[in-house]
């Protein structure tokens, strides 16, 4: 039997406004080569000036991953040639990363796993190249050149492809939560590479490492690792030897293939970046960054279940979207019963949002309004059907639910004599359904309730309608 050791290397684009060493915008979607300047084009004579927020994001990411933050650090040049690397070197961090010796915890099939974080460092992104095979040309766009990245490297603590996927999900959730990166793997703001080796179970030596690059999706990560585990296991158990290679995941053929062997490995000639000065992260700066980190998802989920009585499933759903969780907490803080609020948020409100393709932040119905609506529902002032019907309107208009209900006369009818009139009319208008009821078809009652609700334009309190109908119909039978 063999066991697997996987280490992951993840690059995240940080969501600063400007690039890491110049003032160019980091926005997506600009015309090609329209967000570049002498610095991020690497024009001769240009010099980098470090973006403070990029450093703070790297510090926050390190803290959120339980890393030690370097009190003193610096930048280094990583020298290699590539057409999308404008200076012939990448400004990165070599021997003094901003964060080191951290860990991340996450659940895999109900079991808590801890994976060590070896380092978190800040560096710059390259431009983007597009290959035109037919024209035998490569085309370059430098809008992404100089966008800040953090590189997060784990210890080889990951044991399976499923764990690798869970690690990436947990990492993404944390980074989105602390708002340092939007972590969109398909758009390239999150990029994953894996190191993988297998060894006989119980052996203490790791086998030969293989690097896998070019993985473009979470599913791709899992598949590539599964493929690689299988490939290496088969190779070793048939007496073969795993060669040290860098391999690439071929998404269309669902296999890994050789990119380069160890012999062609890079010699990056790292040395301290002389165009930048030392970076000192003192306690007051560190504490300021720490104070800006919100409660992290895992802790928040546990608190929802433990203190607010939310089901683990709902807690998961709420916490998965930081803005929604924030909204939920606001509503709960105003005294709304958390379970009720969670139900409404996750089903009805979320449906409205999807239909209107709105983010929760854009909704006009804020926490106080939503809370008011919950009070209207739980006190019986309006029926839940009414509440559902008007939610769409409230989300867009932002008027107070109570005022809206009053203005539109939507308050639930609980006056028995009023409802009785509708009940009598319904019985009179629907002889066939009444006949069905009489022969014992229980479903007929529901249909009659529907008729009454329609006649009352939804305002009759369903429980009362039910009672009155039963009374009347049964009376008639006597």
């Amino acid at each position: 039997m063999y066991e697997t050791a996987i280490g992951m290397e993840v690059h995240l684009e940080l969501c600063t406004r400007s690039k890491v060493f110049c003032g160019c915008s980091t926005n997506y979607g600009g015309a090609p080569n329209s967000q570049a300047c002498p610095v991020c084009l690497g024009l001769p004579g240009s010099l980098p000036v470090l973006n403070k927020r990029a450093v703070e994001f790297a510090i926050k990411a390190s803290l959120a991953l339980n890393c030690e933050v370097a009190p003193e650090t610096k930048f280094d040049r990583k020298n290699y040639f590539y057409p999308d690397l404008v200076k012939g070197y990448q400004i990165s961090q070599y021997d003094k990363p901003i964060g080191r010796n951290g860990y991340i915890e996450f659940e895999v099939e109900g079991v808590t796993r801890r994976v060590g974080i070896r380092r978190v460092h800040l560096e710059e992104d390259t431009g983007k190249s597009f290959h035109d095979v037919a024209a035998e040309r490569t085309y370059l766009d430098f809008n992404r050149s100089g966008v800040p990245l953090i590189e997060i490297v784990t210890e080889p603590d990951i044991r399976s492809s499923a764990e690798a996927k869970s690690y990436l999900e947990a990492l993404r959730e944390i980074m989105e939560y602390i708002e340092v990166s939007d972590c969109r793997i398909e758009e390239g703001s999150m990029r994953c590479e894996a190191n993988i080796s297998i060894r006989p179970t119980g052996s203490s030596d790791y086998g030969i490492l293989n690097e896998i690059k070019n993985i473009g999706s979470l599913r791709g990560v899992q598949r590539a690792l599964e493929y690689e585990i299988k490939r290496q296991t088969e190779l070793v158990s048939s007496g073969g030897i795993v060669l040290r290679q860098t391999r690439r995941w071929n998404e269309s053929e669902l296999k890994t293939e050789v990119m380069r062997t160890k012999e062609e490995a890079h010699d990056y000639r790292y040395f301290p970046e002389p165009d930048l000065v030392q970076l000192v992260i003192d306690n007051s700066w560190l504490n300021k960054c720490r104070s800006e980190i919100p409660e992290l998802p895992r802790a928040r989920r546990e608190r929802y279940v433990r203190e607010l009585g939310i089901t683990p499933y709902d807690a998961e759903e709420l916490v998965a979207d930081r803005a929604l969780a924030q909204y939920f907490e606001g509503v709960a803080r105003l005294g709304t019963e958390p379970k009720l609020a969670a139900n409404w948020l996750l089903s009805d409100l979320r449906r409205e949002l999807n239909q209107a393709s709105l983010a929760i932040e854009q909704v006009k119905l804020r926490e106080a309004g939503f809370s008011e609506l919950m009070v209207l529902v739980s006190s019986g002032a309006i029926g839940s059907k009414t509440a559902k019907d008007i939610l769409g309107e409230l989300v867009h208009s932002g008027v107070s639910p109570a005022a809206y209900v009053k203005e539109k006369g939507l308050a639930q009818l609980s006056d028995t004599s009023e409802i009785e009139k509708f009940v009598e009319q319904a019985i009179a208008d629907s002889p066939k359904i009444v006949a069905d009821y009489r022969v014992g078809k229980e479903r007929a009652l529901t249909a009659l309730v529907g008729v009454v609700m329609k006649l009352s334009r939804g305002k009759a309190k369903p429980e009362l309608v039910n009672d009155l109908l039963t009374q009347k119909l049964n009376k008639g039978r006597l």
Binding site: G23, C24, D141, M259, Q278
Partner: protein
């Protein structure tokens, strides 16, 4: 420290320079002479000396995260030796 033409060739590859056989020989000789001169540094005991990468002791030079105007696309494109639409063009890249 003597550099062989083969070592010169390896360094040239790292630096993305193509050298003729002739140049390899000549550079091997010239660089060996210079490297030989460097050996005098070995006579200095620097065990307890910390390195100076900068004569300057500035720290934490940072800028606020503010967007400033970029060059115009036209300016960027006008520098490039070959264009394709709004992109800089080069011969095809093998690795992808």
């Amino acid at each position: 420290m003597r550099l062989t033409p083969e070592q010169v060739q390896k360094v040239a590859e790292l630096a993305r320079l193509q050298l003729s056989l002739d140049e390899r020989e000549r550079y091997a000789e010239q660089l060996s002479a210079v490297l030989g001169y460097f050996n005098m540094l070995n006579s200095l005991d620097t065990v307890n000396v910390s390195p100076t990468s900068h004569a300057l002791m500035l720290k934490n030079v940072l800028r606020e995260d503010q967007v400033r105007p970029s060059l115009s696309q036209q300016q960027v494109m006008s520098l490039a030796p070959e264009l394709s639409g709004e992109l800089v063009a080069i011969p095809r890249t093998f690795e992808g």
